[in-house]
Amino acid sequence: MRVLIPGISGGIARQLALHLHARGHQVAGIDTRPWAEAKEAGIQVYRGDVRKRAAEDVFRRWRPEAVVHMATVTAFTVPGKERGRINLDGTKAVFDHCAAHGVKQVLFVGRHTFYGAAPDSPLYHSEDEPPRALEAIPELADLVAADLYAATALWRLPKMTTAVLRLPYTLGAPGTGTLSSFLKGRRVPLVLGYDPLFHVLQEEDVVTALTLALEKQVRGLFNVAGPPPIPLSVIVRETGRKAVPLPAPLLSMLLGRAGLPRLSMGALDHLRFPIVVDNRRFLDATGFEYRHSVADSLRIFRESSPVLPAGGQGR
């Protein structure tokens, strides 16, 4: 299968590209970021923005059969309005190109934060639920909009097999993404009096799940998850970090200072209330089985990303 991966230079996307290539698929990608080792691995990377004309040329010339759209960003990596443009305009461009150039299958790789963190929402979110608490954290609005837009392809482009996959927080060695960034320091701020459940999936298992979704040609909305969720405090402790529980008002004052990202106060809800997903639909559709337990994932992260000794140098 000829698989094109917009956003191929990201951590998980690279692993997916290598894995698909090893399984005999032809793989190419589009990204503004370089991936120097791709060529020797037999993977073509086209440098550019999916919203630009050159990206459409890739679709026209390379003629992908399947697209795995991973060119979305979070507020942790791209602040401001540009994030909204990348997520929403980029997603629109990818689907437009897919429709125009006969792509048979598209995977949109979204996030489980789609459902929002709220005290009165169900613990386990099914795919049939709407996004909640968006007003509290506008930084997520464009990702939610991109997810919903991708889902419209299910009825707008019925000849194309579209799947929207909502992935939980991921950890790797050391991994990339929201949770890895959150755990980068020796001390990790928590909201005093709360300890939400977190769903964590090892990056290798993410790659397995995406590969299965592609090869099984699943269609529809799917929550992807591996081991059952665990409290955030356990994640902090087992990765060798020190939890620093702070009252919510103090923590909200520290946002944008003391090494914390500048986020809206509603972002703290993600440290207060759980976002846990029901993955039964995905398991039924693909037979996915995770290989890494939570303990495995936390140990791998701890060993690959040890905390720096005070004032010392890391590896």
């Binding site: 009165d120 169900p122 613990l123 009096g193 459940l197």
Partner: protein, 289 residues
Amino acid sequence: MWKAAGPGTSGWYGAPVALTDSLEARVDRLELPFNEYGVDPYGISKSHVKHALRVFGAIYRYYFRVRCYGVEHIPPRGRGMLVGNHSGGVAVDGAMVLTSTMLEMDPPRLAQGMVERFLHNFPVSSLWASRTGQFIGLPEHAKRLLEDDRLLMIFPEGARGTAKLYNERYSLVDFGTGFVRLALQTRSPIIPFAFLGGGSAVPTVFNAYTLGKLLGVPYVPLTPYLLPLPLPVQLEIHYGEPLVFQGTGDEEDHVIEGYVEKVKQRIAGLIERGRAQRHSRRIGRNLLP
């Protein structure tokens, strides 16, 4: 081992639960799928349940000296709904019912309450409710837990039930109907129970709704001594025989309301019988030298 109270062991009038194994051992015997960190897929934490049981167990045994009858009616395994009356201005009833299933059942079971939303809004209470399996009363929660063969604890009177004043303490206010539809959909037995004494433990004379609104709770119960602190009165829990209704949960309202009425009558009957038995026991005690 713990000695279970009830007709099978100590007669209908029950006996105080006797401690012969530790509270920790009881929690360790819970048949829940705990992972390597002692946490189940719903976030129930062995360590938190142990801490909570130490506190509630002491209150159950020494402060309220709870008498529990008919615990053998609760299925030892598999899904079930404990459905009873609210009694007391604060959730003394819920705390003691879930302590009763931990202390009086063999093997112990953890009853998972369907609680009011405000409990998860506040720090600390949100954490402890989550770690001990007490979730907001959403149909999604109830259905999923029952399908996972858990034991639910439901008070169909809701917050209106805990708002009963002292002179209304043995009355029942309107029941919601959702629990019966859920029981039918999930084919779960309903185990009715009567909770006696909560209204005397927290003798509410007035509910301050405006103050409650300011504090983010439905109301604040006020007692003759102002604060809603429970008095050390003896509490009783009477479990009745399970009720099993046949259907799909899609029945017309009048059918469901008929089933709800049956549950309500059964609970009212348990309350009346419990009160009569308590009265006769008091007379008997008074006759003793």
